[in-house]
Symmetry: C2
Subunit: 240 residues, 2 copies
């Protein structure tokens, strides 16, 4: 049986906070558990916040901004390596990490102050690995860690949470060569386990009550990998 529980009582996270310690004080962690932490909490702890007042928009940002604040678009452009679709206020971009998502992951909601923006972590896998190491120090438990964010999808409405960083987790379950009960080889079946774990955690997190972390038990997702493993390689990407 899978269980997922939000970690209650976490304070508002600020730059320099020891997020792992705040979590360890409030959660019972056991070997094999998966800790899912919302990207925004990780980014705030890492100081990945930009104050709009300090942003000077480029000419390109002014041209593309439409109804958006040109300073916000400027920050999105700085976080992007490629714009995939632009229909302001919607900007779908590929981030430096390779994620294709709205606003290159730049977000104003749940920012420390209304006039600031929260960016994705510089290296979300490294963020997850640091949390995992620190949690092992503090609790002795070998947990998997996922840094999650809410991404829109092509063709479907609404966001689902996905893994943008991970440590101690096997992101994909490859059933190639496995046979179904009728003996038919499941050669096309690779399951994005890390994304389903992030989505399951979202169901208990909620967006508005400020709870940025949950623990999932009962799923054996132990393994190695990087969030990059979840990205479609360009040569196989039919939707560039």
């Amino acid at each position: 049986m899978l269980s997922a529980e939000a970690i209650a009582g976490l304070p508002e996270i600020g730059e320099g906070d020891d997020l792992a310690a705040l979590i360890a004080e409030r959660a019972e962690l056991a070997d094999g558990d998966v800790l899912v932490v919302a990207q925004k909490a990780v980014s705030k702890a890492e100081g990945r916040v930009v104050r709009l007042a300090e942003v000077q928009p480029s000419q390109r940002a002014r041209e593309l901004a439409g109804a958006l604040d040109p300073r916000q678009l400027e920050v999105i452009l700085r976080e992007s390596v490629r714009l995939v679709r632009v229909r302001p206020p919607l900007v779908i971009a590929e981030t430096r990490h390779g994620f294709v998502c709205a606003s290159a992951g730049v977000d104003a909601s749940n920012a420390p102050e209304p006039s600031s923006l929260v960016l994705l972590p510089e290296d979300p896998d490294a963020s997850a690995a640091r949390l995992r190491t620190r949690l092992r120090e503090l609790t002795g438990a070998e947990v998997g860690v996922i840094v999650s964010d809410s991404f829109g999808r092509a063709w479907r409405q609404g966001t689902t949470d996905v893994a943008i960083g991970l440590a101690g987790i096997r992101p994909l379950l490859d059933l190639k060569g496995v046979r179904d009960p009728a003996g038919y080889e499941l050669h096309a079946t690779v399951i994005a386990v890390a994304d389903e774990l992030a989505g399951a955690a979202e169901l208990v997190l909620g967006k508005t009550d400020g709870v940025p972390a949950a623990v999932i038990s009962g799923v054996d997702a132990r393994g190695e990998g990087r969030a990059r493993d979840l990205l479609m390689p360009a040569e196989r990407d039919l939707f560039r």
Copy 2:
């Protein structure tokens, strides 16, 4: 706390089987629980199976098939209203229901016999509603029902399970007008709860052990809606 548990001991499903009765005999269902049933079990119970030997491929199917069996491509074309991308053996198509997915949902794995294909239900919302009604008759419980399938995603590797049919479920949680703890309105946040529920169930189902159903407790997703609510309207779809 969310919990998700696979329903153990279900037999191989065949045409005409009373799927709700088979489930009710093996699961403790309570008001507000969400039953997630894999599409393939629903389709098989509804007889949505095509034997390849009975398929005569069209000229177009022969032309597009590449390494695929032209009869398989013929069935995919019949299930499609639009081909989105074709790079055989990969065919991304929009189904008559409006789902954009690989092979228009036509699948050979877990088919009743190796030379047959399983199609999506004619009307997966109606399938879910029938299961919900029948389960109420049999158990007295008011459960939500999701018919799930494994869909690939643009830009990301691996499949996640999503809702292709539902009943008694609010598919989307719209936080428009809701404010985060800092008072910032979350105007862009609509969460695809039904898809996250389907994904959470997949984590306990597994693809190869023949368990096609799971029960999720502890998430209040009660409401009305249709799987169509999860589809991006054409005029807002940046990836047609």
